[in-house]
């Protein structure tokens, strides 16, 4: 991978999207700065995932009219990776083989040592030979994070990857992800105001009619769980989502 591809670019999307003649969003403009965690917050069904799918190049069935670009002008392909709410681990492969899936899919030489190093980073050194069915929900999502990391791609798309986890595991995973995804441009799609106020260096609130910017609380991410500013931002975000403010 060349150096220019390793630097995380900013992202820009502007336009309309339709799925089977149904309008998903119209005149939407979303700008994500290079290397920032950008939270796209909204209720279910407002089209957050469509935005993410467009950036991921998974535009099958989506009719998009507009601009989709990276700040350095290079195409997105081979620079994007994503994590979903479902860990998407293949149940017949062990943790290490799951981490190496991308390498095998591209027909490249697999490097087990590298996979083990990444699994160690996510705290699963002792679980590398276990099948997903032998791992807890949190551990499985850690394997998914390791699989995302080993791809070494500058743009990371996160589609509510922590929402199915219990509160304790979720907060630990948030911290781990922020630590390990440093320097990458991250788009985090979430419906959770607490997550957005904890992780967003920029926050956009998406509703069926518009995209609204929200000034995130000060402080480096991940912000403290009981930090008054984070809690206050969380409250404000919730009120906006409920349409009372």
């Amino acid at each position: 991978m060349s150096d220019v591809h390793a630097i995380a670019p900013g992202l820009y999307l502007s336009g309309n999207a339709y799925i089977e003649q149904v309008m998903i969003f119209e005149d939407l403009t979303l700008q994500i700065a290079s290397g920032e965690w950008h939270c796209l917050l909204g209720a279910s069904g407002v089209g957050k995932s469509t935005v993410l799918r467009l950036f991921a190049g998974l535009n099958e069935g989506i009719k998009f009219g507009g601009t989709l670009s990276a700040s350095d002008g290079f195409p997105f392909s081979n620079r994007v990776t994503f994590m979903a709410q479902n860990d998407l681990l293949l149940p017949w492969l062990n943790a290490r083989e799951n981490v190496l899936l991308g390498t095998r899919l591209r027909g490249q030489v697999t490097n087990q040592f590298e996979a083990d190093t990444v699994l160690e980073k996510v705290g699963l050194a002792d679980h590398r030979l276990k099948k997903p069915s032998q791992l807890s929900g949190g551990q499985r999502q850690r394997v998914a994070l390791a699989r995302t990391l080993i791809e070494e791609r500058p743009i990371v798309l996160l589609d509510e990857p922590f929402s199915a986890l219990d509160a304790k595991t979720r907060s630990q995973m948030q911290e781990l992800a922020v630590d390990l995804l440093k320097g990458k441009t991250v788009l985090l799609v979430t419906h959770d105001p607490a997550e957005a106020s904890r992780l967003g260096q920029a926050i956009s609130i998406m509703s069926s009619s518009k995209l609204e910017k929200f000034l995130p609380p000060v402080g480096i991410i991940p912000r403290g769980l009981s930090d008054p500013e984070t809690l206050s931002a969380q409250g404000s975000l919730l009120r906006i989502l409920r349409g009372t403010e």
Partner: protein, 245 residues
Amino acid sequence: MRAVCFFFGSLIFGVCIWQAVVTLTGVPRFILPSPTLVVQTLWKSRALISEHALITFGEVLSGLVLGTALGAISAIALSASRNARDLLKPILVFSQAVPVFALAPLLTLWFGYGIWSKIVMALLIIYFPVTSAFLDALMRTPRGWLDLAKVMGGSSRRILWLIRIPAALPGLASGVRLAAVYAPIGAIIGEWVGASRGLGYLMLLANGRAKTDLMFAALIVLAVFTIVLHFLVDRLATKYLDRPD
């Protein structure tokens, strides 16, 4: 353990009713021989029955292996190409509208009185369930896995081998389980239409000479073989094709 007890319990119950009917009604032995007579004949004619049984078992196993292999290859080919699917699916469905039994004389004409016409008969009867169950599973790969593979930059050939086929193996397992039950039917029908060896031939011969006890003995051997085959195939499919989760 409980299931085994009930299995033998119901077997003994059935045999008792059979013996009671024969004893109480005094039905002639060429209409319905008693279970004790059938067991005696089975023991006395063990050499004759095993000689014919081995032929039938060989036909069934060959048909099962070939039919499964051909069905699996067809399903993979059909899943890989939409044109092949659109072209061949109507033919597959039409082929099922023709009763396979009606083809038996034709197969004997084409493949002769030897074992091949029976193997082809067994193959034809199991080809559709195997192809259809495996193809269905191949076309239902969870979308998330395919999205992930696409973003990772996998070619469609590698996605097929590394994700779609392994994910569809439980579907193949259901097809093979059905095939194990159908294959003996195919072989026996083939033998009825034209053969000089095999359990089907022996049954016809015994029936024609009013040796109903021998016919029952051959039938019992066939039934036990089918049950054992089904059990073994089920165990193998569970071990190698199914997934624990």
